[in-house]
Every structure is written in structure tokens, then in C-alpha cells.
Symmetry: C2
Subunit: 367 residues, 2 copies
């Protein structure tokens, strides 16, 4: 297969580390005709990545022009240094979740580091490994390009091209700015979600039976891989500690408020609790994206869907037949119950039309 | 309109407090022919609740047989006591998010409390007010019935009937067990989500631009109403403080681990971090419901959807045409980009068929 003419990335591209991200990169390039070489310290992982179509195994004869190191942060710098030495003509990037400590190690060990540019696609999943890979994992996501002071412009360009070819949006940031940002928007929330979920380990079944979508949402990312995350968090320890310490400071203020209520019977302590929730209102409103609030412009039609194969598809077919544009859809499953709730977002003027049509088709619709 | 014969609840039912929950109760009963009377301290709120069809305004001539007090916990006990006195023939329940403190106040103030049964539907939204009401808000949700030691069996039965008529599943618990459970699965996560979101208030735009679905999920419920939540948390302060203190204890262990890494250069401290994430894995796995893991049995087909009216509907119509049963659907919107990602869950054997069909229909599908 010849390479898709719309791509700027020319192969061979070597992907070192065939986990979720590395395999997804290989998959996206290989399916569009770019020659992708794969290596991984685990033969099983390598075989799985080849099997899903992410590329072929690296041989000693191969000479990659671009190397993408996709490995945990604690081994990433060593691998980047090895690749720079092994392929003196290649541009080398890494896609680890932290950038400053890796850049420091690389610049400290390599004389000519013009060919190295760090990067970080802001994409992932609580799932891991090559079988969770998706060619469109990076579609529409930011891809941070963290050039060092020694990176050559041509090297930066090549990594930008890679990001664009994978459907991502390149965002240039310096390594420290990146690490500070991800400590706040990714690493701290990861730890906090784990702390919330950890409290459920010894909870009575009767308490867990009262769980709702709020708890599920708060704890979804707590299902992530502990070893990988320990490596990520360890490599960004200074920034993460600072943000976590700030959270603890805020938590202590709230706890002191509760102390006043519980020990002193002083309900004025609740002002501290209300202020913390107000501060959260202000913070959540700053997160970009539809879920922040824009979807509230839509009317939501809620429909009960029996939890049986084909039922959701049947509903969606009926929605299509009603001639209504669906703007968004959210499914809520209900623990231990044979129904789910489909929330259909539509333009307010289409609401009545959709409700009547679904009602006529026998669906249980909110009144 | 005469009442739906399948309902056990006979009117008139008086709903005191026309917020999200009260109006949703009224809406569900009124649309099925039960006479619903509404009262609220705010004339505007009352008018809105009437407007959406939740019932008619209470008059001095009305004699309800069942009163549902749907008010914040800090005013709830007073309202229950008033209603028991005002309608000596009526059964009175409340639907506040805490139960023990209200029961204590009611039993302390009322000689004959046989007609009072506390309850708590485990349903809500980060939205509030009568206009956010939905007749099916309670469908498939647990509804805790917290009888006191003085509640008459007939009163308990009436409240169970109400829960069932609203589509919920009655769950009998004592008030303290309920308060302990919701501190863990609802109140603590609410505060923690707010603390995470609060850290974003002063974040640079460039950091917020890296936000992903993980952060959105962790902070969604941080958009909730501060005054209402201060009242809820204040009324359950003892239990909430205990759970929050346990979270702080866990956080301190993690922070001590980071101290070893940052101050001592001792990466052994990361074991504490990995253990916290492992504990989170174990906790999140205990949450009942599909999102805990069962949906991983499905194959996920990811499709890029232009963020324009009709596109999602067009996709779903094409899915229907492919003859494939859709088991679940998740939309991910991408900040600042004109595309979203629809993740279609299907049985593994249907994956290829769906991918080919969507590919043939011109959709961008993961390879």
C-alpha cells in the first residue's frame, strides 16, 4: 500500500513501546500506508500490536526516519538516548505524560540533542495495552509539543506533522509549563478519584447499592493502571505534590467547618462548606467543552429503554423516523435493574414532536 | 382525568416544596391522573411548577391524604411537623437527603408520630428547580424508606406505594444506616469533586485547554447548588466528617510518599502512590452497574461525528440500517473542535459488520 498523499509524515516510523498509545499511533499510520516498525521489551505485547495491524517488527536492517518512544516516564529518557545513538539520522520524540525530567536527562546525556523533541498527546483511556488501541485515539485532541532549547526547527516540524497526521491539534508549550498544567488537569484528579474510590473497598453492599451516576463519574478514572500511574506521578512529583498540598489545604478548611458544626454545634461552620462548593462551581465552569454547560441549551427527552439487545437501536431508529435531529445522547444504566435511561438532547422546538412520536411508538417518555 | 388504575397512590397528594424533586414527583403523579396539590414559599417557583404540569396550587379547602415534604434538610423537620398538625388524617413523608436528624426532630416534637415515615429517592441532577423536573426522575432508582420506631405499618406501606408508583425501587434502611451510606457514596464525593474543581479557578487558560474527559467526569457534580448542599452536608455533618477525615488520612499517606520522592530523592515513596491507586481499582470495581466493567465485554467501534445538527442521528440511522444491535453509546465532545467521537458498543461478533457498513456509508471509523 502506498502512503496516503495527504500525510506529511514519511516512514519508516519506529514506535518503541507498543502499549495503548504506541499501538494507536502505529495503527493510524500503518492503515494509511506509512511503513511502521514496532519494538517492545515484551514479545507478547509486540505480537499483539502486530496482530491488530499497527506495523511490523523492527529488524536490524531498518533505518527509521522518525522514532516515537511510547514508554512509561521512568524508562523513557533512557530509551530516547538509545534511539538517538542507534539512528543518527532520525528525529526522536517521546509521548510520555511528563516532559521536564525526561528533557533534563536527555540533554544531560546527549551532546547533540537537536534531533530530540518531547511531546504529549492528551489522549488515553482507563484501558491499556495494544488491544485497547484505536487509530483515532488522538482525533481532535490537543498534542503538546515541548521543544527543548536545543531542538532543531526541522525536528519540531516533523513532530507537529505527526500530531496533525494523527488528527490531533499541536499545542506548543515548554516542558515545565506542560508538567504544571497536567499536574492540575490530569494527575491530581487521577489521585483524588482513586482516594474517593478507595473508600468504597470496605463499604457495606447496602451502601454501594445507593450509588448513582455522580459517584460513577467521579471514580471512572480510578480504574487506571497503578504501575503506569506511579511512574507518571513520580516523574512529575514536584508539581503534583504542590497541587495535592493545595487540595489538602482546602480540605482542611472544609474539615474545620465540619468540626465547628459537629463539636461546637455552630452551623456557621457550614459557610466554609458552601464556599468550597461555590469555588467548585466557578472552577467547573472554566473547563472548556460542551459538558461545561452549552448542552443545556437543548431540551432533554428522557426515555426508558429495556436493557435487552436491540432496544437502544430500536429507539434510535424511531428517533430517526420522527425526523428530529439528535444533538447528544447519554445513557444511564441502573444498577440491578433491567432498564436504562436514554437522555436525548434535541433543540427545544423539536421536543414536543419527538415526545409525541416516541409516545406513539410505545416508548415510556418523561411527561 | 381519572387516575391510572395501575397506581396504588390515591390523591390528593400535597407536595410541599416545588424544586427539582418535588416538581418531578408532582409531574409523574399528575400526568397519570392523581390529584396533586402544590405549595412553595416562593410564588415564582410555585407558578413554574404549575406551568410544567406538576399540579395545582393548594387551597385552604384541600384535605390531602399524603403529604410529601420536598425541602432542604435544614427546614424539612419544621415543615413535616407543621404538616402533621395541619392534616391530622394524612400520612407525611419527606424526601430529604439525610434522615436521622429530621427523624429526631420530628419524634421530639410530635406526640403521635405514627403517620410520619422518612424517605429518600436516590435521584437528582446537578440542575435544580421546577423547570429541570422530569416525570421519570426516579425510574429504576433506589428509594430509601426510613421508617422510625413509631411509624405505623400503613404509613410505611403508603410511602412504599409512592416509590413504586414513581418507578423507583423501595429499599428499607434505618435512618442512621442511610446517613452513613450517603455520606460515603454521595456526600463525600460531592465535596471532593468540588475541591478538585476549585483548583481550576485560577488555572491558566493553556492548562485548561488540556482538559480531557477524565477531568470533566470527576468534576461534573461540582456544578451543584452550594446553598442546598451546605444544608444537606450540615444535616449529615457527623458522618460526612468521618468519611472526609478518612480521605484526608489517605491523602496524607500519598503526600508523605511524594515528600520522600521530592525531598529525599527516594522513589520508594512511589509505592504509597501505587497502593493508593490499587486501592482505588478495588473500590471502583465494587460499584454496581454496567459502567463498572460489564460493558467491556462489548467491542467498541469509535466513529468521528461532525458536530453539526443531524449528524449523530444520521450515524444512528446508518447503524440501524447495518442490522447491528447497539448495546451502548457514549459521546465524547472535543473542546474547541468541530467533531465528537461516538463510541458504539456492540457484540464482538458484530464489530466487523458494523465497521464495514459505516465505512461504506462514508464514516470515519477506527481501523
Amino acid at each position: 500500500m502506498s502512503a496516503d498523499a495527504s500525510l506529511s509524515t514519511r516512514g519508516p516510523v519506529l514506535v518503541v513501546g507498543a502499549g495503548l498509545v504506541g499501538t494507536s499511533i502505529g495503527l493510524s499510520l500503518a492503515t494509511r500506508g506509512v511503513e511502521v516498525l514496532l519494538s517492545d521489551s515484551s514479545p507478547t505485547t509486540l505480537a499483539l500490536a502486530r496482530e491488530v495491524g499497527a506495523g511490523r517488527a523492527l529488524t536490524p536492517q531498518d533505518v527509521p526516519t522518525l522514532v516515537v518512544v511510547s514508554a512509561p516516564p521512568d524508562v523513557c529518557a533512557r530509551l530516547v538516548i538509545e534511539q538517538l545513538a542507534a539512528y543518527p539520522g532520525a528525529i526522536v520524540t517521546d509521548v510520555a505524560s511528563v516532559k521536564a525530567s525526561i528533557a533534563r536527562s536527555v540533554l544531560g546525556a546527549v551532546e547533540d540533542a537537536t534531533r530530540y523533541v518531547g511531546s504529549h498527546p492528551m489522549a488515553g483511556s482507563e484501558r491499556s495495552g495494544p488491544t485497547a488501541a484505536r487509530a483515532d485515539l488522538f482525533a481532535g485532541r490537543p498534542w503538546v509539543i515541548a521543544a527543548t532549547e536545543r531542538s532543531a526547527p526541522a525536528a519540531v516540524r516533523a513532530v507537529r506533522h505527526l500530531a496533525v497526521d494523527l488528527g490531533a491539534t499541536p499545542v506548543e508549550m515548554d516542558a515545565t509549563g506542560h508538567d504544571d498544567a497536567v499536574a492540575l488537569v490530569s494527575h491530581m484528579p487521577q489521585i483524588v478519584a482513586s482516594l474517593v474510590a478507595a473508600r468504597l473497598r470496605d463499604a457495606p453492599e447496602a451502601a454501594l447499592a445507593l450509588s448513582g451516576q455522580g459517584l460513577r463519574d467521579v471514580t471512572r478514572i480510578a480504574a487506571s493502571d497503578p504501575q503506569l500511574w506511579a511512574a507518571i506521578l513520580g516523574a512529575n512529583a514536584t508539581h503534583v505534590r504542590a497541587v495535592l498540598a493545595a487540595v489538602r489545604g482546602d480540605l482542611d478548611v472544609v474539615l474545620a467547618g465540619f468540626d465547628r458544626v459537629v463539636d461546637g454545634g455552630d452551623h456557621g461552620g457550614l459557610a466554609k462548606v458552601a464556599q468550597a462548593i461555590e469555588a467548585g462551581n466557578a472552577g467547573v465552569a472554566r473547563i472548556p467543552g460542551k459538558h461545561g454547560g452549552a448542552h443545556r441549551e437543548y431540551a432533554v427527552v428522557a426515555v426508558l429503554v429495556p436493557d435487552a439487545p436491540g432496544e437502544l437501536a430500536r429507539l434510535l431508529a424511531d428517533v430517526g423516523r420522527a425526523g428530529v435531529n439528535l444533538e447528544d445522547l447519554r445513557m444511564e444504566h441502573v444498577a440491578g435493574h433491567p432498564v436504562g435511561l436514554a437522555e436525548l438532547s434535541v433543540l427545544p422546538k423539536a421536543r414536543e414532536q419527538l415526545e409525541s412520536a416516541l409516545d406513539a411508538a410505545g416508548w415510556k417518555v418523561a411527561g
